[in-house]
């Protein structure tokens, strides 16, 4: 048969890993003109599968069983030299990280041109001419300029287009896409997905598309394979799997997709606990002889958070949402405007402010000190403000219980916890200071969907118990819809629209908000139930 077929593929992990096989008995196939989505959480083996069919397994991993064939040719008997001549010509790949997947020291044109130079032996001029055509085909603005540009001069979305142009240079039979849109903003993601679909139709390519996001699956897949712990647990057409999942794991994953179960609107307090007015922040990098153009990260931003409610700040990268979070807790200084907490300006002193605002950070691995016990990190704040050590440790245990961790695990070190558990420790650390306002900066965006759902549920539960007021920073409208009462939409440091979340979602007034909502992958999916 044409296209790619994998039967009973088994990949062994090096000895000493947490399990014996990365991938076990995986069978998949993609026909020409078809898109197969492989969905799974981290550690499911989906990326290893992609590397295996490219013959690019990381050192230490080895294929120990099964068959892989490309249009009927057995891939497992290929010599390294034969593999090499297949790659780029008959089977090509697009990677996740557009920032690191291109050589920073080589122009885009030459990197694309290399494919033809290697496989067809074209000279530099001809390769460059074809590269220009390829850049035009992926709709890059100013293709001539892009040809001579270095990767760092392009945006993430543009680089991903370059990667696609490069992968499709020789019109391969099979295209493997490993989370190609995960690192992109939602509107860029929608464009890149549309581009892949369009090119795939035009060239009749078989596409193996790896993703963790059911929203993306709903946008692009013809067929779906769901992976868990190295095995395919369910496979079927997109509509079957999305609307009538049979396997419990698939059902759980789909239920965890954020935004599917938005809570009903509730009565909000009229008491404003956090008031930000006219906040302005400019980044100017001064150098010896010249100033770069100053970047206005926040431009006269005003918002109000009601006591006991959650306010979402939504925006794409560069919108200033993270800067806003850091200005509110005063990790960054501002150039103008005011932050008032509970009716008074936020005090300048570190200790005095600690009891008013606290923050939960994005990266569960960077937000805890690897060399101190989890409990000590929760207790150190109260100790610094005068609580006796014994009392503070007892309080830390209580908080561990509150956020759903074993109170005795206060003595363990961060590396002994999973990502979701670390995020719970981060929440406990913030709660230990009994803040009036909790600022959560993308607290779930580094987590798998199922863990994401648990952490969001925890935040909501804690809010009910403790009457927390949360400023919730996120790039993901679906997450905002799941948790928040009100929303602020930001772009380029400016607030474009704000209001109750349901109103903004159902009747966006600003065209930018509308484009954001339209770009949400799998909107169909969100509306299914």
């Amino acid at each position: 048969m044409k296209g790619l077929s994998v039967e009973g593929l088994t990949v062994r992990l090096p000895p000493g890993a947490d399990r014996a096989f990365a991938v076990e008995e995986v069978s998949l196939s993609v026909a020409p003109g078809e898109i197969l989505c492989v969905v799974g959480e981290s550690g499911s083996g989906k990326s290893v599968t992609a590397s295996a069919v490219m013959g690019l397994l990381a050192p230490g991993l080895s294929v120990t069983g099964g068959r892989m064939s490309l249009s009927g040719e057995d891939l497992r008997v290929k010599t390294p030299e034969e593999w090499r001549s297949l790659r780029g010509r008959r089977i090509a790949m697009v990677f996740q990280e557009p920032m690191t997947a291109l050589n920073p020291l080589m122009t885009v044109g030459r990197q694309i041109g290399e494919t033809w130079r290697t496989h067809l032996g074209l000279d530099a001029r001809e390769a460059s001419r074809r590269a220009l055509d390829a850049l035009r085909e992926v709709n890059l603005p100013d293709p001539e300029g892009a040809l001579r540009a270095f990767p760092h001069e392009l945006s993430g979305g543009q680089r991903q287009r370059v990667m696609i142009a490069m992968a499709l240079a020789l019109n391969p039979e099979v295209l493997v896409c490993d989370e190609p849109t995960t690192a992109l903003d939602v509107t860029t993601q929608a464009q890149v997905i549309a581009l892949i679909k369009e090119l795939q139709r035009r060239h009749g390519t078989a596409v193996l598309f790896i993703t963790h996001d059911f929203g993306v699956v709903a946008e692009i897949a013809d067929r779906v394979a769901v992976m868990q712990h190295g095995r395919v647990v369910e496979q079927g057409t997109a509509s079957e799997v999305l609307t009538a999942p049979r396997h419990a794991y698939t059902q759980a994953l789909l239920a965890a997709v954020p935004g599917r179960s938005a809570p009903p609107p509730r009565e909000l307090s009229s008491d404003i606990v956090l008031e930000v007015s006219g906040l302005t922040k400019t980044y100017a990098s001064r150098r010896l002889f010249r100033r770069r153009k100053p970047v206005r990260a926040l431009d006269n931003v005003s918002l109000a958070l009601r006591r006991g409610s959650t306010l979402a700040v939504v925006g794409e990268s560069g919108s200033g949402k993270s800067t806003l979070a850091r200005c509110v807790v005063r990790l960054l200084g501002t150039d103008g405007g005011e932050v008032r907490v509970a009716g008074a300006p936020l005090p300048k002193g570190r200790r005095a402010a600690a009891g008013l605002v606290q923050m939960v950070f994005q990266d569960p691995y960077a937000s805890l000190n690897p060399r101190r016990t989890a409990g000590a990190q929760v207790a150190q704040g109260p100790i610094a403000t005068g609580t006796p050590r014994r009392e503070a440790m007892a309080e830390a245990r209580r908080l561990f219980g509150l956020v759903g961790l074993d109170p005795e695990s206060v003595l363990r070190f961060p590396h002994e916890f999973s990502g979701g558990q670390r995020q719970r420790i981060g929440i406990a650390r913030a709660l230990a200071m009994q803040p009036s306002v909790l600022v959560a900066d993308e607290p779930v965006s580094a987590l798998d969907v199922s863990v994401q759902a648990q952490v969001l549920a925890l935040l909501r539960e804690l809010q009910g118990q403790l009457g927390l007021s949360i400023l919730f920073i996120t790039h993901d409208l679906r997450v905002a819809a799941q948790l928040c009462d009100e929303v602020v939409v930001m772009r380029n440091g400016v607030v474009e629209e704000q209001g109750p979340i349901r109103e903004v979602f159902e009747a966006p007034r600003h065209p930018y908000t509308r484009s954001l909502i339209e770009a949400i992958p799998g909107r169909r999916l969100m509306g299914v139930r």
Binding site: M54, L56, R84, S85, L86, R87, G88, R89, A92, M93, F95, E97, T100, A101, L102, N103, P104, L105, M106, E114, T115, T118, H119, F150, H152, M163, M166, A167, R287, L288, F289
Partner: protein, 323 residues
């Protein structure tokens, strides 16, 4: 153009550093027991207090420290480094006579260390944890641990005394009157052992950095991209890995320019080369503080110039450096 703007910016930024060094050194040398006049008198076999006072007035040593510092810096602007009482000539003249040998030694040692380090580092990284890597890495460790002056002496014993292949010291054969190509070859023969001696430790450092850097770059995403394009492994290394992996090594050359210049003091002393390093040693022994200060000034400028060249090279290699 971007390249030059960048490097000139760095060059200007190093001017305050230079001033800081000069002022610091000048003040430091004031603490030295005994001055040039004492040394001079000792050399002449003693003299009375009146003579000492006259000499001090002659060399301007009777003024206050601040005044002399001001004078010294003022004269520096015109490249006047003062007068060496020991050599009986202006310090600038003494230094200029000695500079070529040191420059030649440094350029050859640096080139040797750079290219050999690059090559060995690449070979080791491509055969990582197999015998060529083990051999190269072990050699690197041993080279790193070898004191250069001792290596120089042992090389003289083996290559000059026993095998008699190479000269034991000096810059050229005295009294042979070689000209043209013969003279060049003669000097080259004299430079082989000093180059190896000075370059050895830097070879060890560069090969270790290059190996580590190659391994690091080989694990980066864009290398996987290059492989996914179907490039041969040789082409992947030559076109994608090498240039990226060289960046840390280039940085290191600039950082270690001073160390290498310091190393030439010992090497020139071992091989009796008439260079700046040997001059520094002689000035310390003879307490010729004026000359010592002049050497400090010239060395600092030399290091700054090397760093300027390194910046130029780096900016050419890496387009990401901000203009």
């Amino acid at each position: 153009m971007r390249v030059f703007r960048l490097a000139f910016g760095r060059l200007l930024a190093s001017l305050p550093t230079l001033v800081l060094i000069l002022v610091g050194m000048f003040l430091l040398l004031q603490l030295a027991p005994g001055d040039t006049v004492d040394a001079l008198l000792a050399q002449m076999g003693g003299g009375d207090a009146q003579l000492a006072e006259d000499l001090r007035r002659f060399y301007g040593l009777d003024l206050g420290i601040a005044a002399r510092l001001g004078q010294y810096l003022g004269r520096l602007v015109t490249l006047d480094l003062g007068f060496s009482a020991i050599y009986g000539k202006p310090v600038a003249t003494v230094i200029v006579e000695r500079l070529p040998a040191t420059l030649l030694l440094m350029v050859s040692a640096l080139s040797f260390a750079f290219f050999a380090g690059l090559l060995l580092g690449v070979v080791a990284a491509r055969r990582v944890n197999r015998w060529p890597d083990t051999l190269i890495s072990t050699l690197g460790l041993i080279f790193y641990a070898t004191p250069s002056f001792w290596f120089g002496l042992m090389a003289i014993v083996v290559f000059s005394v026993y095998l008699q292949w190479l000269p034991a010291g000096g810059f050229s054969e005295v009294g042979m009157g070689y000209t043209g190509l013969t003279a060049v070859l003669d000097t080259a023969r004299h430079l082989v052992l000093p180059t190896l001696t000075l370059g050895l430790i830097f070879l060890a450092i560069y090969l270790r950095i290059m190996r580590a850097s190659m391994l690091e770059v080989l694990s980066l995403d864009f290398v996987r991209t290059a492989r996914a394009k179907g490039l041969t492994e040789t082409r992947v290394v030559a076109r994608h890995v090498l240039r990226n992996a060289m960046l840390p090594m280039v940085t290191l050359i600039g950082l270690q320019a001073g160390t290498m210049l310091g190393g030439s003091v010992v090497v020139e002393s071992v091989f009796a080369l008439p260079g700046l390093g040997r001059l520094a040693y002689e000035s310390v022994v003879q307490r010729d503080l004026n000359t010592l200060l002049g050497i400090v000034f010239v060395s600092a400028i030399l290091v700054i110039v090397i760093n300027f060249l390194v910046d130029l090279l780096y900016a050419r290699l890496d387009p990401r450096i901000e203009a």
